[in-house]
Symmetry: C2
Subunit: 77 residues, 2 copies
């Protein structure tokens, strides 16, 4: 889950300032989002992907201010 | 940034319970971490990777409770 580019990100600003204060002047911008790792059962990757997309739309992602991306991998891989 | 497996994750528990309440009973576990996207200048990928690893160790990641992984990509790709 990442904030949409037009949304202000004070947390990202704090990260950038913190990195600059430590001497990492090469950092131009930081954006802070969420990383959610779901463990779930599904008959195949495609059905897992379609369920996860639905979960993102219905609960995990605030579509007004956030975008989401996800990857499906088999457990243990 | 993800919480180490041994660390309790109440936010992840809330996500799991929320998904179950919506009928996604196939979800076994959720772990909530942070996703930080840094835009920075570097002479090549390798030097970018070594700087980012240093930033993670020094500021971004709390090594006591968190693990980190990162990928380096050229801007626009």
């Amino acid at each position: 889950m990442t904030l949409k580019p037009v949304v202000n990100d004070p947390q990202g600003l704090a990260v950038t300032q913190g990195l600059h204060a430590l001497g990492y002047s090469e950092v131009l911008e930081s954006r802070v989002g969420k990383h959610i790792q779901l463990t779930l059962t599904a008959s195949d990757r495609q059905s897992a992907a379609s369920r996860v997309e639905e979960m993102c739309r219905r609960l995990l992602c605030n579509g007004v201010i956030e975008d989401f991306h996800f990857q499906v991998a088999e457990a243990g891989t």
